[in-house]
Subunit: 389 residues, 2 copies
Amino acid sequence: MTTGESVIRRMYMYGLDRAKVVGSENVFDYSLGNPSVAPPSAYTDALVDLVQNENPLLVHGYSPNVGMPQAREAIVKDLNKRYHMGYTLKNIFMSVSAAGALAHAFRAVVTPGEGQNIITFAPFFPEYIHYVGGSGAELKVVPADFSSFQINFEAFESMIDEKTVAVLINSPNNPSGIVYSTQTIERLANILRAKSAELGHVIYLISDEPYREIVFEGTDAPFVAKFYDNTIVCYSYSKSMSVPGARTGYCLINTEAEGYEDFVAVCVQISRCIGHNCPPTLMQLAVARDAGATSDLAVYETNMNILYDELTSLGFEMVKPGGTFYMLPKALEADATAFCEKAKQFDLILVPGDSFGAPGYFRIAYCVPTEKVRRSLMAFRKLAALYKH
Amino acid sequence: MTTGESVIRRMYMYGLDRAKVVGSENVFDYSLGNPSVAPPSAYTDALVDLVQNENPLLVHGYSPNVGMPQAREAIVKDLNKRYHMGYTLKNIFMSVSAAGALAHAFRAVVTPGEGQNIITFAPFFPEYIHYVGGSGAELKVVPADFSSFQINFEAFESMIDEKTVAVLINSPNNPSGIVYSTQTIERLANILRAKSAELGHVIYLISDEPYREIVFEGTDAPFVAKFYDNTIVCYSYSKSMSVPGARTGYCLINTEAEGYEDFVAVCVQISRCIGHNCPPTLMQLAVARDAGATSDLAVYETNMNILYDELTSLGFEMVKPGGTFYMLPKALEADATAFCEKAKQFDLILVPGDSFGAPGYFRIAYCVPTEKVRRSLMAFRKLAALYKH
């Protein structure tokens, strides 16, 4: 399997080169999942206020290994309010964004050298292969249910074995934009409970939720941790606050999870071995000022609707996204790479779905200005026309 | 061997508890290496200007995996000017502070599962045990030369074996404050060249230099990378700019080093496996504005001189520090832990040297206000008096 990064990056670099020739306004770059709206002023105002008015030895000083208490307190308070949970500081460990959170979660549940595996579901973020591999386990990928991009449960059940220590989900999903329904999460939790009992060891559910706040109207978007005790949530503010450069997120374990008592201490030990020492203090303090703040995320839904309406009318098949800023339509030929190459002639930068476990599909990352989305429709029309004769 | 962190943290936590009783102004807390002076205004002004006046999608957006080009450019330019080097962007990889830099350097030179080792010299920062262990190698510690805290070369040469892939140095040194002289570095480089030739593989020199900018008057403080081709420098702005919370540093390899061509790409691959994805963008851009800026570091030399004069006059034996904000005097009894316990009755918080590979010694982290250093002298006098009868 190839890695997604190289394909995404290659398309992105092509887009940059092309922009030098025709101007960036004329390149419809749908390759990168980089937020296109500004961070909330609650966050940026907090940064400035902290730097100008607070004690510099606090603001620029070391964070405790577990994270700043102000941030941990504000985050659990926000989660408790929104999801009616009872989290305390003992549930949360601050991490260098979602990548750091996942690095800790995987290492917390994996014993290296024992041939263990973690299962995830296609379509999936291909960096997971490296993230899981680095923890000493193998990532096993359940083939996609292309009809809904929910979970292919039959295939999943047959792939769980005695070496399975965790299941990794990403809902709302990169690259499909689909949100797992309450029914999906309940069925998944039931299987995990039954299999844990059968195998005699806990199978953790690791829920990677950077897109949790980007959910479109009418979408059923359950808070995963409510449905399964042995859940570890991995979160980042990269998408909800449009601050991927802030490298700030967290790991959160349920109070009912096995190993809850030691979880934060275990994360501290893991940090020492991987050179991870907290997210930046300033960003933690800024998040703490308003942990529930988000960017103006409505633009993503606007963009999705414009693209969904146009592309489906052009004959593209796709499952309508329930959140994120991605969609994963079926290409107009079997070879999605060839399809994305053809798209380049209209300065449309698309990413083939192969590395996401979705061959024949392509990803559109529609985190771009809406006016650009509108201008890109003509390019999609021309691309579709290539396949009409 | 116990870990340093727990001892340092335990003493620090004791100091906090004690401060609640007698007031923090009356606790002479010399436990933590947390900078006590404000960051340079070049850095803090840059933070505010970037947040208020630059494109938020740049300032808060993803950094490339290798780091922001602005930061890499500014840093190599500064190093080239100060040390007459010829570094380019191909030499440098931005990291989440020194811990992140070391995590990459170790993984770049170690092949896991082959029983390799990395050698360092006591006294040493005890977290190195975990940092090296996490990379799949073992840390071997050369006993200290207590007469000078330079290198015990005889012991060192006898410890190099066919499994040695790197030597790790930390000069200016935590915990001794000693700076390796040009003579020491030259002799070390000669041995490494000879042993590399003899063993038929490169032994890298990994130079952990967060205290490089804190050097006292008259100290011979060579730039290590000039003396040995196969050097990897690990750096952090935590101490020079007083921003440990900014989590910003870098790995730098010499152009003449084996593996130079692939080094930055290798670091990117390593990042993917350990959940490390660049230091925060905002901090990289702020550093880029003036990569050579430092806090007003003179206070540390002032503090050192006050303590050195008083403690030596009280009969403490020590090697005079050449930099950092640490010193490592000999305790007044063989058991440094017992000594540090006795110091508590005078509200002096000191850290026993055992975990640093210096049993019988204690560390003073004199990154505290000078007026407090002066007030602490009476406490040291009372402590010394306990041993005078």
